[in-house]
Amino acid sequence: MASDLTNPLLDALSASEAPILSNEAFPSHPSSSVKSALDRLGSRQMVEYETLEKEVIVLTSEGEEIATNGSHEAKVFAAVVAAIDGLKISDLPGLVGKDNAKVGQGNAFKRGWIKKDNDKLRAATESIVDETREHLLTVQKTRALGDAKVLADLKRRKLIALSKEIAYKISKGPKFAREFVKEETDLTPEMIADGSWKTTPLKPYNFNAKGAPTTAGALHPLNKVRQEFRNIFFEMGFEEMPTNRYVETGFWNFDALFVPQQHPARDLQDTFYIADPLKADPPHEDPLSDPHRLKATQPASQATKDKPVDYQKYWDNVHEVHEHGKFGSIGYRYPWNADESLRLVLRTHTTSISAYVLHKLAANPRPARFFSIDRVFRNEAVDATHLAEFHQIEGVIADFGLTLGGLIGFMEVFFAKMGIHQLRFKPAYNPYTEPSMEIFGYHEGLGKWVEIGNSGMFRPEMLESMGIPKNMRVYGWGLSLERPTMIKYGVSNIRELLGHKVDLNFIETNPAVRLEKE
């Protein structure tokens, strides 16, 4: 390396008894290359040094120019002298340059070097002393100037400036040697084999730097949060529902949930309807070939207790409970339209799948816990907090004699597992749950109550239509996956979390998710 000062520095030190100053020993080298040699030697205790900082005067580029070629006024004087019979003023810029002509002419007049004769300039003196240049040459040589007044004047004219000069006072260290021996950078198989590791010095490790970046794949942050929620559900004994079904019917997505057919959620403004294929079948048993057919998960000994599922009866019950009321309900009392029920939609919630699973449970009603976390679709205008797609987390508990206090108690345990320990519950409205409760959690970081989910007990109109007995009650609750994730990571725009606009660096560097740990 041309600028490697390691050995020259050792040479200079060994030639001198006293410490050396880098700016004297190596005046033409930039301090950065001195520093790198010092670091190399210093880390091996071969030298010791202290850093000296001092203010020095340096020439600006204009100052350098004057020091080399003379001041503007000197140039003007030279040009005037050179002209045989005076110099036409208008010729001056062409000879000395426009800037020199302007400033130099004025200064030369002031100093009495030249005089005006009509449109010509003539010399007013035989010879001149170019003081400005003299001063600058002194500064250039000594980096100082005795006369403070002149100094201030030069500074005002921007010919000089103050600058910091770094120098090092270097002395021999405890392990000083005349020569710098290039060390091995790493332990090698050869060194182990021939035993040279015993004598070979190893380059010291830089404990202030990061290690080599490791190549790594990464899972998506939202899926990492999803996995945490799945784990919470598994810990609490929940079975995952078959939500791999984006297209639903109006029946399962709405009617089965006792959402009336004129409900605003069913508007074109809110729900994606399907143009092709156009119309669904009424509910019927899934063919064996259906990949989403619910597999029996209960013990075989239990399965024998299953009653056959009567789809026609279910369809009729739903029709009846909407139009005329049934199961103790007066119903919505409007003419229910089968075609509306057979329209295909992109599911607006995974509750459609919960209805499907609960309907299967009605064949053999027993205590059960189900959950799902999957994509849902809303025909919403896209903004910072809304996308046409997001993930819904849904939990369902079915049992005989469930109480509202049990739902509250369960939510406390559920949310404690994600680090939320203070909850309160607000009465709310939802067409398919009654009572309905909005869940608010106290967010320590934000210092306020934040709505974190919705919950309730499914309405008897929905459950009894399926054939679930009156004394079996079912909790349902839901929250979006994106919202807690956005709060957790301080993400303000949902598009930074889901979709193709997500930054790959964000995915790659996002830490592991530990919901219970704030």
């Binding site: 899972l219 791999n244 108690g409 109109e461 009650r473």
Partner: protein, 600 residues
């Protein structure tokens, strides 16, 4: 959920005390409405030199139509606080016993078959009451009436018109009148053109515009009262000085018709000369057996089971205690005489949301306080914790891909038709993709049938990232499938894309091999696969593929043999440069996409 804005000082005066924002927020929370905003400390608009007084903006549950106006909120909160009892609404016929009538013509069945109405006598408006009266109609039109499609309300100064009224349906050219706040007379057709550009009314025209007949209400002198659901006549308009208000309501939904009528009359009958009295009218509608006297404001009676309420709430309250709690929610309730497990409940005409005893049970719980209910923990379950098998399989593939150094991405499921087909040099055969009917943008035209568009868009949006980029996704696509109830099915795919200065063909091939080996599938050559059917349990082989998505000679189909059966599970290859062009990618890309369901 609707949000309504009410005058803070006026409400607190009605409630008999001042509340801090926090106190009022707490009251709302317990009652089940939500204080959105208190504008006290905000810059409030100045109208005609007067600054708007502080407002409370309150979010109302979508089924509580009785809370859509100042009068309703003040009343229901006062009842909840125990400061007031539910008023005793009364129907009072006129002194001469002669009810005002609306005679319904049969032709109305062609367009808007139902009508209802009522009269409020001796009402005393002031500016606030008048504005609230108009605002309630607006809110009802927007919410319950679904933008006037189901129900619409017309209100008239009764002293300007002369009953009996007729509700008719006539050809649009035969209806002539001066619409509200206009000066010139127009017929039905001209009226449609006149209001085409109107900011508020234009959106209602479609409800009747193409019908051969328009609904119209006349008085006995053939004065047009209204052309529902568009506009009233100017002749009978109400003002601050109106004292007798004739309310007519027309609808296509009978149930909502009566709910709307009840809401308007119960909320505003408190301002009549004898508060809470309503003068009924007679609807004469022989052709559809709808002749009756309206409004029906009799409370609905129902029985609620004490044991059911206690069980759901986890309480053991006496019938009397439950009855007391219910009064706070505007019911009249008392223990049944003959049945110790029953409470006789009168559901007030203001509560249209009560359909089942579960609604009554919820009100007991609200009245008791959700946050005061005894807490328990349901500990029984018949299910065993387990993942959905396809999700478990997906997780295996996801984790293996990530361990192999690839980054998981999560693009959207909906995409444009071009992204799914044309941009990939694929043709839509019309039998593949699920297509949306009403997307707001072209970004959401189809449910993807391939994971590739999402991966390629992710790369396009991440061009600032260092290369190579190695990304993958395991998620669902959907296909039409007419054999199923929902006429479509999802399929779980695994896809990966390599983007860099070299094609990465062998790299995605290597990823395929790695994932296959982790799924215990042995590699065999195509020849082995074709000639040797009994090589083991699960094997895969690849064959050169001719597919315009890929660069010629640089793509392969992936074949899986499980249990002696061959499935084509996907393909991989270098994308065709025309595909790259469409996705604005300047470096080569190799992709891999397989259906993982055969591995289940």
């Amino acid at each position: 959920m609707p949000t309504i804005s009410i005058d803070k000082a006026a409400l607190f005066k009605e409630l008999g005390r001042e509340y801090t924002t926090e106190e009022f927020d707490e009251l709302c929370f317990e009652f089940g409405i939500e204080l959105d905003e208190d504008t006290t400390d905000q810059d409030r608009p100045v109208v005609d030199g007067v600054q708007e007084p502080p407002q409370l903006k309150i979010e109302i549950p979508a089924n509580r139509y009785d809370l859509l106006c100042f009068e309703g909120i003040a009343l229901m909160l006062n009842i909840f606080l125990g400061r007031k009892a539910l008023p005793d609404y009364k129907l009072v016929p006129p002194a001469n016993g002669q009810l005002q009538e609306i005679i319904v013509k049969e032709d109305t069945t062609k367009i808007r078959p139902y009508v209802s109405g009522a009269i409020l006598r001796g009402i005393k408006f002031d500016k606030a009451r008048y504005e609230s009266f108009i605002a309630l109609q607006d809110k009802l039109h927007q919410n319950l009436a679904r933008q006037r499609t189901l129900v619409s309300i017309g209100t008239h100064d009764l002293d300007t018109v002369q009953g009996p009224f007729t509700y008719e349906a006539l050809p649009h050219k035969d209806i002539k009148f001066v619409p509200l706040n206009q000066t010139q007379e127009m017929n039905g057709e001209e009226l449609m053109t006149f209001y085409e550009k109107h900011q508020q009314l234009s959106k209602f025209l479609h409800i009747i515009r193409d019908s051969p007949v328009y609904p119209v209400i006349y008085d006995s002198k053939r004065t047009v009262c209204s052309l529902p659901p568009i506009i009233n006549g100017d002749h009978s308009k109400i003002s601050l000085d109106t004292t007798n208000v004739f309310i007519e309501v027309t609808a296509v939904d009978r149930t909502k018709l009566e709910i709307v009528n009840r809401m308007v009359v119960t909320m505003f009958s408190q301002y009549t000369s004898e508060p809470f009295t309503i003068e009924p009218i007679k609807i004469v509608s022989e052709h559809n057996n709808e002749t009756r006297v309206t409004p029906d404001i009799a409370p609905r009676t129902a029985q609620a089971e004490v044991s059911y309420i206690n069980e759901c709430c986890g309480l053991s309250l006496s019938p009397a205690e439950i009855s007391n709690l219910l009064t706070k929610m505007a019911y009249r309730a008392k223990p049944s005489i003959n049945n110790a497990d029953s409470i006789d409940v009168e559901i007030p005409p203001t509560r249209a949301d009560v359909l089942h005893q579960c609604d009554i049970m919820e009100d007991v719980a609200i009245s008791y306080g959700f946050n005061n209910l005894p807490r328990s923990f349901p500990s029984k379950s018949g299910t065993v914790a387990q993942p959905l098998p396809i999700n478990k399989l997906s997780d295996i593939v996801r984790v293996e891909a990530a361990m192999a150094g690839w980054t998981e991405v999560l693009p959207l499921i909906l995409c444009s038709h071009d992204e799914n087909f044309r941009w990939l040099n694929r043709k839509d055969d019309g039998n593949t993709a699920v297509k949306l009917a009403n997307p707001k943008t072209t970004e959401f035209q189809v449910v993807r049938t391939s994971l590739l568009p999402g991966l390629l868009k992710t790369i396009r949006e991440n061009k600032a990232h260092s290369v190579p980029m190695k990304i993958f996704e395991v998620s669902d696509v959907a296909f039409k499938d007419l054999s199923l109830e929902r006429k479509s099915r999802n399929e779980r795919h695994f896809a990966a894309a390599f983007y860099g200065k070299s094609s990465g063909f062998e790299i995605v091939h290597g990823l395929l091999d790695r994932v296959m080996s982790m799924l215990k599938s042995a590699f065999m050559t195509a020849e082995e696969g074709l000639n040797n059917p009994a090589i083991g349990d699960s094997q895969y082989y690849i064959k050169e593929l001719d597919d315009p998505t890929y660069f010629p000679g640089h793509s392969a189909s992936i074949h899986l043999r499980v249990g002696g059966k061959d499935h084509v599970i996907g393909a991989f290859g270098i994308l065709h440069p025309t595909v790259l062009g469409k996705y604005e990618l300047k470096y080569p890309v190799s992709t891999l996409e397989i259906n993982i369901e055969p591995f289940l």
